[in-house]
Each structure stands twice: as C-alpha cells, then as structure tokens.
C-alpha cells in the first residue's frame, strides 16, 4: 500500500513537472534565464505560502478557474510566438540547427527585469505546482499517508527538475527563431489544453490529448513555413 501511494503520486506528479519544466526551460532559453528564474522562484514562493497556509484545504482551491485564466493567457501569448516563429523560420530556414552559427537578435536585451519571461515562468510554476500539491494532498489524505505522498511529489520535482537543468545547455544552442517556434507551439498546446479544461471540456484521452495537440500545432506550423518559404522564394525570383 505504501509503495502504491508513493508510485502513484510520483508518476502523477511527474506528468505535471514535465509540463512545468518544458515551459521554464523554453522561456529561459528564449528570453534569458535571470527573469525566468526569478519568475519561477516567485511561483514557488506563492505556492509555498498556499501549501503552508491551506494545508489539506488546498483541494478546495478552484483549480478550474485558475486553469481557465492561466491557460487563456498562455494561449494568447503562445499564439503570437507561434506566428512569429513561423515567420522567422520561414525567412531564415533552419540555419543554425546543424551547428552553423547564425546571428539573431535577442528577444529581450534590456538591462532590467523581463516581465514577460517572469510572468510566463511564474504562471507555469504556480499552476503546475498547485496541481502537484493537490495530487499529493488528495492521494495522501485518502490513503492516510500524506508524508509519503509528499515525498513522491517532491521526488518527481527534483528528478525532472534536474533533467531540465541538465538540458539547459543543449537547449540554449538551438537558434532563437527555431526555439521561438518550438516554445510558441508548446505554449499554444498547454494554453489550449488548460483553458478548455478550465471550461469543463472533456479532452479525448485526458492528458493524452497534449501530444495530439503538439502534433497538430507543429504539423500546421511546418505546413505554414513551407507555404511562406515558397512565397518568399517566388517573390525573390520575380524581383
């Protein structure tokens, strides 16, 4: 029974942590790490206050409304990066992916805080962290093994977070235009999923709809890139 509680909370939390790490690593690599890390830390701080303050009452948080609000914001922002990513990759191709260096302007080059990176990381960490906390509390209280369930959730966070940290270097080497497209596709995917979940819509296959949405948005992006490149090449040939 104890092993089952640990394994269940670990696996369920792992799914949520993967989503959190994808957003944080993607935003950090695209817009810079400082603001992303501060945003993530802010998300964890609010999460810690909620967990300590509410304890087992966490399950009463209206997670549906949070999913709708955060999902809508991520979708509205993600769709812009999706469009920009398509335009930039169509203009430059996938130059840089094969190790050929390309010169690209940074998404954020200011001296102060990049509030966009802060907000994206903050929202991703807070929503996913809350979902992990609710999973831990629900399983833990039901099985009367709250401590063990917490260990399962924290283990997932440490393990997947560590993998994300290790991937930081390789991800940073991807050209910004390609990275912007990838992060745009991911934010649009998670934004669509969470916003509709918040509305009470049942996705076919539950969380399994996320890979399906990824394939849908990525496939369409590649189609748009092909069409844009054809148009650009035709325009250059005419000029």
């Amino acid at each position: 029974m104890r092993a089952a509680v640990f394994l269940t909370t670990f696996l369920a939390s792992t799914v949520e942590v993967i989503e959190m790490v994808i957003i944080v690593v993607g935003v950090g690599a695209t817009r810079g790490w400082r603001s992303t890390i501060v945003g993530s830390a802010g998300g964890f701080a609010v999460l810690a206050v909620l967990v300590v303050g509410l304890g087992a009452a966490l399950v009463a948080i209206p997670i549906g409304i949070l999913r709708l609000v955060i999902g809508t914001l991520l979708l509205a922002f993600g769709i812009q990066w999706y469009r920009k990513g398509v335009m930039r990759v169509a203009a430059r191709g996938f130059a840089g992916v094969a190790g050929i260096p390309v010169t690209e302007e940074a998404e954020w080059a200011g001296a102060g805080m990049d509030w966009t990176a802060f907000a994206l990381a903050f929202k991703g960490v807070l929503l996913e962290g809350l979902e992990i906390a609710i999973i831990v509390v629900s399983f833990g209280v039901a099985a009367k093994e709250l401590g063990l369930a917490a260990v399962g959730g924290i283990s997932a966070l440490v393990l997947i977070g560590g993998i994300g940290l290790a991937l930081r270097g390789p991800v940073t080497r991807i050209p910004r235009s390609v990275l912007q497209l990838i992060v745009g596709v991911m934010l649009t995917t998670f934004g669509s999923f969470w916003a509709l979940e918040g509305l009470g819509v049942n996705w076919p296959a539950g969380d399994g709809a996320i890979p399906g949405l990824l394939v849908w948005y990525l496939g369409t992006a590649l189609l748009y890139i092909t069409l844009e490149r054809r148009r650009l090449l035709g325009f250059q040939a005419r000029a």
């Binding site: 914001l73 812009q80 920009k84 335009m87 509030w115 669509s192 849908w216």
Partner: protein, 75 residues
C-alpha cells in the same frame, strides 16, 4: 501622482503586449473560440476541437495578411 500614472501606463502596456501583441485578431480569435466552446459545451455538444481549429485558421489568415503587407512594401 505622475509616478503612479507612469507605472499604470507601463503595467497596461505590458499586458497589452502580452495578450494582444502585433495582431489583435489572434487574441480576439482566442476569446471568441473560448466563448463558443463554453456555449457548445454547456449545451452538451462535443466542442474540444473548436479552439485548435480556430487557432490555426487565425494564424494562417494573420500570416497571409502579413505577407501581403510585406509584398506591398517591397513592391
């Protein structure tokens, strides 16, 4: 007072850039898609496909518009 106004302006500009960005039709499509999905879902229709379809249509139209604008400027 001026400081408060400048902070409010910066705050508003940040959220405008975050939600609306370069093309307001994308944010409007998201809003319309979510409202339509909520209405259809409340009436018992299967509506999960609505937002993913509207999103790619809106991006396609926006890209087309940007391409035409770019062609006109280049010509």
């Amino acid at each position: 007072m001026e400081r408060i106004w400048s902070w409010l302006y910066a705050f508003g500009r940040f959220w405008y850039g975050f939600i609306i960005g370069d093309d307001w039709t994308l944010a409007a499509t998201v809003a319309v898609g979510l409202v339509l999905t909520a209405v259809l879902n409340a009436r018992g229709f299967v509506a999960w496909w609505m937002v993913p379809v509207l999103v790619i249509v809106a991006v396609g139209v926006s890209l087309r518009r940007a391409s035409h604008a770019h062609s006109r400027v280049a010509a």
